[in-house]
Symmetry: C2
Subunit: 384 residues, 2 copies
Amino acid sequence: MKREAAFGAEPQGTAPRRRVVVDLGARSYDILIGPGLIDAAGAEIVARLPGIRAAIVTDETVGRLYLTRLSVALRAAGIEHVEIVLPAGEKTKSFEQLAHVVDAILAARLERGDAVIALGGGVIGDLAGFASAIVRRGMRFVQVPTTLLAQVDSSVGGKTGINSPRGKNLVGAFHQPSLVLADTALLDTLSPREFAAGYAEMVKYGLIDRPAFFDMLEADLGGVFGGGAARGEAIRVSCEAKAAVVAADEEEHGSRALLNLGHTFGHALEAAVGYDAARLVHGEGVAIGMVLAHRFSAELGFCPPEDADRVAAHLAAAGLPVRIGAIPDAPLTVEELMRGIAQDKKVEKGRLTFILTRGIGRAFVANDVDPAAVEAFLARELDR
Amino acid sequence: MKREAAFGAEPQGTAPRRRVVVDLGARSYDILIGPGLIDAAGAEIVARLPGIRAAIVTDETVGRLYLTRLSVALRAAGIEHVEIVLPAGEKTKSFEQLAHVVDAILAARLERGDAVIALGGGVIGDLAGFASAIVRRGMRFVQVPTTLLAQVDSSVGGKTGINSPRGKNLVGAFHQPSLVLADTALLDTLSPREFAAGYAEMVKYGLIDRPAFFDMLEADLGGVFGGGAARGEAIRVSCEAKAAVVAADEEEHGSRALLNLGHTFGHALEAAVGYDAARLVHGEGVAIGMVLAHRFSAELGFCPPEDADRVAAHLAAAGLPVRIGAIPDAPLTVEELMRGIAQDKKVEKGRLTFILTRGIGRAFVANDVDPAAVEAFLARELDR
């Protein structure tokens, strides 16, 4: 369902570029991966969307680092644009900031054929993407993800949205970008903790249905963290894996739910610490959640216990937490976690839906998990 | 592209029901038209969406008249629901009220498979529909339109949205309902002015591409205004006409723009009076706008002047204004109107797009209209 191609020699010199095509018929689009892409953004956008004007949406932190470079690249390609700079952080994914971004786009008199360009991590991508989905009932959208998490996960697949006081990502739209530019050189400024958080989502693709990719990550963990070719290739495989799932089930009526491996437990953990990033960021919650999903699957007799141990060992080697007890200041209770699980939006008609697994690379959607079994399992895990 | 069928004998007795199918593949849906449908709402919804829960969204005026009846009908069919009652009026189509409705839907813990039911006119339908499009990235949506304008226009076709301080309907989504229940008996409580405003949109379908329908309206104006079979049939033809346009171009990339016949001038007039409904409601703006579109087309040599006169005579007979000078307290200027036209969202890449016509039932999209010609035409019209 996916094609890939070496991207050929480019003005950036000999730096290798990789390409993944997200295959959605008339709405198909390219993900370009490689160092220096931010400086080629204008040319790549103009080649696909000639004549457009644009609004760059970014946050103060990322803006300080990269906004000028992106702006120069757009100007060089003749793309007239405005800049919308927001406060950094998860709180920006609010109705209030959405209204602000929408107003700024309209103030610039952009039209349906023009583009919103998200320069930042998941928060900016989700918010800017949602704004582009609803201004004039849908504008063009381009992603320039600046974190590993955004490059391998949130910038691919068209989920956009904001948070509600009642939960994360409860308001949004499916709106596919026209282009994703993943500049891998930008990852060099990430903290190790932030890189590891994105790495958890890469591991997830191996665990869902690509056991050979998991083997590769196990074999070359140092190479992927070190940058260079191994990192670029791991990002490419991750995007390809996500693109394949999205192409098969764009609006999550079925198999796309596999991408939630580790996320039901992970979201419950994030909620239980009040989304306090000092204690737990999303990728860390997913890391613990994936280990729990494997252990729970092992308890239920689906998954070999050795596979669960292997997953935990690899994530720990990557510097990620793998037990609930590893969360700082975490005397969490079963009740808190069960409440988080029940509120998770993957609940359908009151039954618990979990992504379980038969082993590494063999995840499946289970629609009818017994809440009592989850509760008993969590009670034991809290004592680990 | 459309099918229709007599709806057969129903528990409501012998009142005739009509059905129009909006043909959008997997997202096709029924529009049911007839007296007493509000009392059958529960049964009709359950037959299509078994097991759902719902949120009824309405305004204080409509709620006082019909909320209890709809609620009783849902309860009788076993549909658990909450009620969300908003202030009446165009100001309700705001980000603030959208956030309020979204929060109330989430507070009721409705899921993606559950439904938002809009009970009201265009404001409620647009706002509730938009909320249903973005809560959990898309819930089910049912329309129970209570005005003629909503029954023949805004409830059909999936355009949802809110206003921005920078203009009307600038923020929204395409989100098709699962069912539209047009209870024609509810129209009996409309004021003559409100009925006439909806009637302008009915005439529009004749003018776009159904000259025989225009003939029918001319021949039986009294019957349509009087209620009964002629009114039901005219509503059915109108819904069928709109459904055909929508099925051919759901997201307005081309021919759907024909539905804007009379609307570019009409929106400019509404904007020029500051959306003061005491001076001009939407349907009245459209009535004047359609006359202007025919006269302008005649000036440009496209349309026989007799056709323009015939359109004006029929709309005047229906009690609608047909000259700019008919707007109360209206010393409007060409500059104001041109500003409104330039801001209209049908502007693409700076050129003026108008719906022009070669005569009754022969409208077409003109993408490259000269602003100077429009300006000169409006100057003459202001002197009429």
